[in-house]
Subunit: 208 residues, 8 copies
Amino acid sequence: MNKKFFETLTEDNCVLAMIDHQTGLMVGVRDFDQASIQANIQGLCELATTMHIPSIITASMPEGPNGPVMPEIFEALPEANYVPRAGEVNAWDSEEFVKAIKATGKKKIIMAGIVTDVCLMFPAIAAVEAGFDVYAVIDASGTWNKTVQEASIHRMNQAGVKISSWASVLAEIMKDWRSEKAMELGQILAKHTSYKWVVQSFMAQQKG
Amino acid sequence: MNKKFFETLTEDNCVLAMIDHQTGLMVGVRDFDQASIQANIQGLCELATTMHIPSIITASMPEGPNGPVMPEIFEALPEANYVPRAGEVNAWDSEEFVKAIKATGKKKIIMAGIVTDVCLMFPAIAAVEAGFDVYAVIDASGTWNKTVQEASIHRMNQAGVKISSWASVLAEIMKDWRSEKAMELGQILAKHTSYKWVVQSFMAQQKG
Amino acid sequence: MNKKFFETLTEDNCVLAMIDHQTGLMVGVRDFDQASIQANIQGLCELATTMHIPSIITASMPEGPNGPVMPEIFEALPEANYVPRAGEVNAWDSEEFVKAIKATGKKKIIMAGIVTDVCLMFPAIAAVEAGFDVYAVIDASGTWNKTVQEASIHRMNQAGVKISSWASVLAEIMKDWRSEKAMELGQILAKHTSYKWVVQSFMAQQKG
Amino acid sequence: MNKKFFETLTEDNCVLAMIDHQTGLMVGVRDFDQASIQANIQGLCELATTMHIPSIITASMPEGPNGPVMPEIFEALPEANYVPRAGEVNAWDSEEFVKAIKATGKKKIIMAGIVTDVCLMFPAIAAVEAGFDVYAVIDASGTWNKTVQEASIHRMNQAGVKISSWASVLAEIMKDWRSEKAMELGQILAKHTSYKWVVQSFMAQQKG
Amino acid sequence: MNKKFFETLTEDNCVLAMIDHQTGLMVGVRDFDQASIQANIQGLCELATTMHIPSIITASMPEGPNGPVMPEIFEALPEANYVPRAGEVNAWDSEEFVKAIKATGKKKIIMAGIVTDVCLMFPAIAAVEAGFDVYAVIDASGTWNKTVQEASIHRMNQAGVKISSWASVLAEIMKDWRSEKAMELGQILAKHTSYKWVVQSFMAQQKG
Amino acid sequence: MNKKFFETLTEDNCVLAMIDHQTGLMVGVRDFDQASIQANIQGLCELATTMHIPSIITASMPEGPNGPVMPEIFEALPEANYVPRAGEVNAWDSEEFVKAIKATGKKKIIMAGIVTDVCLMFPAIAAVEAGFDVYAVIDASGTWNKTVQEASIHRMNQAGVKISSWASVLAEIMKDWRSEKAMELGQILAKHTSYKWVVQSFMAQQKG
Amino acid sequence: MNKKFFETLTEDNCVLAMIDHQTGLMVGVRDFDQASIQANIQGLCELATTMHIPSIITASMPEGPNGPVMPEIFEALPEANYVPRAGEVNAWDSEEFVKAIKATGKKKIIMAGIVTDVCLMFPAIAAVEAGFDVYAVIDASGTWNKTVQEASIHRMNQAGVKISSWASVLAEIMKDWRSEKAMELGQILAKHTSYKWVVQSFMAQQKG
Amino acid sequence: MNKKFFETLTEDNCVLAMIDHQTGLMVGVRDFDQASIQANIQGLCELATTMHIPSIITASMPEGPNGPVMPEIFEALPEANYVPRAGEVNAWDSEEFVKAIKATGKKKIIMAGIVTDVCLMFPAIAAVEAGFDVYAVIDASGTWNKTVQEASIHRMNQAGVKISSWASVLAEIMKDWRSEKAMELGQILAKHTSYKWVVQSFMAQQKG
C-alpha cells in the first residue's frame, strides 16, 4: 500500500461531496433508522462548515420523483457549491461535478450518497481510479437493505475506497481536543449521538 | 371490558406524565436507537404543548448520578409542572406527583418513562389501580434491552395498561385532519418520522 | 369468551376493509420488506374478489401528501366501495365508512391498514366496541418499526381484536380444498408465497 | 383483577426461589448472552441477601449431568435454604421445597429458573394455583432459544404469573432512595448494569 | 381461570395430534431453522411413543403439492392412527379426525402443525371451544415468518390455548427423574438439544 | 488493480447468466424473503431484455428434484439462450454454457445463481480465472442462510469477483436519465422496489 | 493471485481435518443453532467417507473439561486418523498432526474446528504459510458469538484462507451429477438440509 | 504477504495498549452487551498481567466528560504504564504514548479501544504504517452500533491490521496447555466465558 493511503485527513486536504440525499430517496433507506441517518448526515455537514471544508452538494434530477435535496443539508452547508445534474446517474460522469471537486485542489474526498450502491459507490470507485483518496461515509449514506449495504462495502473496499463512519471522519479532522475548533466539533458529535447525555450530565455537575 | 376502556383520548380528557427522562438514564437505553427515542420523546412533548394538554415532568434525584432531565423536554414542555422527587422510585408514591395529576381532573394519563421496567411500569400499574386509564408510550420510554421491554409490556398489559406508541397517541388526539390544530400536529409527526420526506416531496411539487 | 368468538369466518359472514394503503404511507413501512407487504396486500384483496366478499377501500386525504391508494388495490378489488375521507383519522369516525360496513349486514370485519398503530388499530378497536368481530390482518398492514407493531398487537389483543395473517384468513374462508373456489384460492396463496415453487415443481412432474 | 395483584413487593412480603441454575444447564442458555445472565442472577441474589429476603435454592439431581448449582449463587445467598431434589422435575412437586416456601409465611414469590420453560414455568404456574403471587424473573432465567422464552412468557402470563426483570424487582423493593438500604441496592444495580459507568463518572467528578 | 387449566399433563390424560407436517409445507417454514424444527418434531413424537400416548397423524391432501407426511414422523410414531384428509383445511372439520381424538377419551391434546397459522391454529381453537385443553407446541410447528408466528401465538393465547415448547411438554410428562421411563425421556431430550453434549461429557468422565 | 477493473458496465460490453434458479432450489433460499428475491430476479432479467443484453439461462438437471427454471425468468428473458446441463454442477464446466458466453464476445458477465455458494460462486470464480470481469448479483441469488451468503461473498471477493446488487447493475447500465431507455429502466426499478410508491405519489400530483 | 488458487477441489487433491469438535466446546457454540451445526459437521464427514478423502480427527486434551470428540464424528469417519494432542493449542504445532497431513501428500486441506477463532483459525493460517491451500468450513465450525466469527473470517481471508461452507465443499467435489458417487453425495446433502423435503416430494410423485 | 505476518504472537514479542476505555465512553457502546464487553476487557488485561506482557493504558482527557478509565482496567493491569493524553485524539499522535510502546522493544501490539472507529482504528492503522504488526481486539473494543464496527473492521483489514478476539489472543499466547502459565490462562478464559460452566461441571465430577 502506498504512502498516500496512510496520510491523515485534515481540514486542509479534503473536500466533502454530498450526493443525492433527496427526499424521494431518503424514504427508501432501510439499512438505518430514519432518525439516525438524518442525525449522521447533519453531523457530517456541520463538521464541514465548522472546519471550512469545501463542500459540493449534488442531486439527480431533483425536479422529478427523487425530489429536492433534504433542506437540512442546505442549512448545514450554507456555502456549499450546489450542482444539480441533468441526468448523469454517476455524479463522476458530470463534468460540472468533477470540475467542482478538482477546483478545490484537494486529493481526498469525503463522500456520502443515497443510495449507497449507486450514488455513493459509483463516484467513489471512479474517484479512486482518478487518483483520489476516498472516504465513503457509510452511515451518512443509506440503501434498500442491509445486504445491499454489505455488497457495496465489499465492492468499494476491493476497489481501494476507505469505508468510514461520520464520527471517525470528524475525529480524524479534529485531531486534538486542544485545537482551535475542537470544542465546536465536540458539540457537533454530542448533538447527534448519545454522547450528548454524557456531556449534559457532566455540565450539570460542573455547575451544580 | 367496561365502557371507559373504549373511550377515545382527546386533548380534554388527559394529562401527560414524563417520568425520569434523565441524562444518566438515557445513556442506558438499548431497546431503541438513541436518535429515535429522542425524536419520539420530543414529538410526544410537542404534541402536548400544541394541544394544551396539562403536563407533569418528574425526576428521580436529579442532583445525583441520574442527572438532570434532558433539556429537550423542558424546551418542548415550557408550561409543564416540574416535580423533582426526593427519593421515591415509583413516581406514584410521591404525594406531590399524584396531587399534580389529580389537580388536572383528567382520568386518562399518557405516560412515558425511563427505564420502562421501573419508571414507567410502576406508576402505570399504580394509576390503573387508582382508577385511571393509562396509555404507556412504549417508544418514548426505554430500557436496558429488548427482553426487559417485552417483559414490561406483558406485565403492564396484564394489569390493564394500554401499550401505545407516540404516533398513535398523536393521531388519536388529532382525530380529524380538518380540526383546528391538525396541521400543526401533522408537522410534529413529520418532523420526527420519515413522513417528513413525504411531505417535503409533496411541498416541492406544489411549488414547482 | 362468548360463542361468537369461536364462529368460523366464511365468505358469507364478513366484509373486507382496506384502510389507507396510500403511496405516501407505504414508503414509511419498516416492519415488513416492501415486496412482502405488497404481496400480502394483493393476496388479501384477490381472496375477497374471488369469494365475492363485499369490500370497502378507504383513504385519508388522498389528494395530500398521503397520496392515492396504491393502484394494486383498486385492480384487485374492482367492485369495492371506495370511501375517501375528508379528514377523519379513524375511519370509524367516518359516517360514510361505517354506513358502508353496516350496509353489508356482516358482523365480521377483515381489516388491514397502514399505519398499523393508527389506521388499523383505531377502527379495529372501535368496531369491536360496536359489536363486530374483527380480524386485524397484521401482515397486510405495516408501520414505522417492529416495536410499534408489537405495541399495536398487544393493545388490539387486549381489546378483543383477533390478530391474523392474510394466509390464515384465506385458509379459514377456503375451508375445504374440495369447495368450488378452492383451486382459485390455492392459486392466490401460491402466487404470493413460496408455496408457488412447490406447486410449480409438482406441476412440472405431473406433465413430465 | 383482585386487590392482591396490585399490592407492592416489599422485603417483608416475599421469598426468593432460585431453581436449577446448574452448570450443566447454564451452558444451554441461548436467549441471553452468558455474561449478561450471570450478572442478572448475581444481582438478584445480592438483592435478597442485602434485604434479608428469605431465599431457597433448589437443584435437580445435581450429582448427574445437570451438575452443581453455579457457585456464584451460594456465594451471593450465604444464608439460603438449599433443597436438592431427588428427582422431581417441577420444584413445586417437592414437598420439601414447598414446605420451605410456606415456612417463610410469605405470599409473594420471586422466582427464577433454568430452563425457563420447565424449571421456572412449572413451579410459577403451580404457585399461582396455590394462591401465591409470583414474579417470574425472566432475565435471571434462561432457555434454549428466544422462541421458547416467548412461548413461556405467554403461557405464564395467561396463568396469572407476573413477568418481571431483576432490575424491576430490585427497584420495587428499594421503593425509596432515602430508605436505609437504598445505597447498597443502588450499588448492586450499578455493579451489574451499564449504570456502573454513570455512577463512576459521577463519583470521579465529585472527587475531582 | 378454572381448575382444569392448572391440571398437569400426564401420559394418561392426553393425546398427540401431528397435523400436516408434509414435505411440501416443511420447505416453506422460515420461523425456525430446518435442522431445529426437524429435531423438535422428532423429539415430540419419540416422547409420545415412549410414553404410549395415543397419537394421530393427519395430512392435507398428501397426494397433491403438499406432498406426503415427512417419513420421520411415521418412523417415530409407528403406532399412530393416520388420518389423511380429503380436503378439510381445519383438521377439526374432519369427522374422522375428531372421532379419532375423541376415541382416546383424553381431554388434553398436544398439537403441532405446519403451517402454524392454519394447520395448528384452527384445530387448536376449535378444540378449546369443544372443551379440550390444548397445548400448542410452537417449536414443533412452523410457518412463513416470525411475524405470522407471533400473530398466531397472540390469537391462540387469546382463545385459551396454551402455548408450549416440545421440551416443556416432555418435562411435564416425565414429572420425576426417578419415574420408570425418565431415563428414556432424558435421552430423547439429549438427542435433540445441546443437552446431548453435557450428557456425553458427563458419561465420558464417569467411564474415564 | 488493472484498468479493466474500473471500466464501466454498459449494455454493449456484458452478458447476463442466470444460473439454476429452479423451483426446487428457490424453496431453500433463506437469506432473502421469498417475495424480495423474486422481485430482484425479475428486475434483473427485465433490465437485460430492455437493453438487449445477451442472456443465457442454465439449469442443473431440471427434470430431477431441482425442478424447472422458474417460469418468471423465461417470461422476462424471452430471447435468452437456454442451456440445460446434463450434470455439471459448475456451469463453467459445461462446454455448451461457456461456448454460449464466449459467443457473445463480451468480457463482462453479470451472474446470479441459486444457491449462491455453489451455482453462483463456482462459475463466478472460474470466469475470473478465464479472464472475465464478473458481477455477482448477490440479491438475485440466494442460499441456505445468511452465514453461507457471507462466506461466499468473502471467497468471491478474495478471488476478484465484484459483489453487486441488481439495482446497482441497472443503474450502472442506465448511466444517464436522459438516455434512450432510461425511462423504461426507471420503471423496472420502480416496479420491484419501494421506489414505486415515490413515483406513484409524484405522478398523482402531476395529474392532480 | 497464483494459479493454485483457482484449482478445483477434488477427492484426489485434498485431506479433511476435523479439529477439536469436543463435547465441552460444542456447548459453547453460539454463532449457529446446535441442531444446524451438528448437521453440517455430519454432512462434511460423510462426504469425506463417501469419497475416500483421507481424514484426520484431532482433539485438545480430551480427558480434560473439553471432553471427548463428539461421537458422531468417529461414526461418520470410521477410517480417520485420530490424533489426540497432549497440549498444543494450535493443531499445526503438533508434529504428529502435521505429519499426518503431510503423509497424505495432498496440497489442499478442508478444515473445520471449534472454536473457530482458535482451533480453526490458527492451523488454517499456519497451513497457508506452509504452502497449503486451505478451505475453512465456517458452518462446520463454531464459536462464542457472531462477532468473533466475523473477526475470524476477516483475519483468515486476509491471510489467504478460503472461507467455505460444507455444502459448497461437497458440490465442488461432486463436480458432476453423473459421476459415480453423485447420487450418494446428493443424499448426504439432502439428509442435512431442507433439500430433503424437495427430494421426498419428488420421490413421492415418481412413485405415485 | 511477508513473513512477519505469519509470525506467532508470544508473551515475549508483544505489548498491550488499552486505549480510552473511559466510563463516559463505555456507556455509548452498543455493538456489545455491557456485561460481555466488560468481561472481554477484563479477560484481556488479566492475560497480560499473568504473562508479564508490558502494558500501556491511555486516556483521552479523563478529567472531562469522557471520565476516568474504568477502574477494572487499573485493577487488572496493576503494573501498566498509564499515559493520560492532553488532547490528542489518535493515541499514536501522543509522543509519550509512542515512546512507551517503543520502549518495550516489541514489534507486535495488541490493541483495544473505545470507540472502535476512532480510539482503536486510528492508532492501529498508524502503528501498521510505522512497521508494527497490530492485533485489533474487536471484542474488547466497542462503538456506537454494529454498522460502525463493520466499517472499522473493513478499513483496518484493508490497511493490514489483524482483526482479533480476546480469546484468540489468549490462546495464541498460551500456545500449549502444558506450558507454565497455561492453567492460569485457562482460568481466565473460563472466568469470562461460558467455558466456566464446563470447567465447573468437570471439577464437580472429579471431586464427586
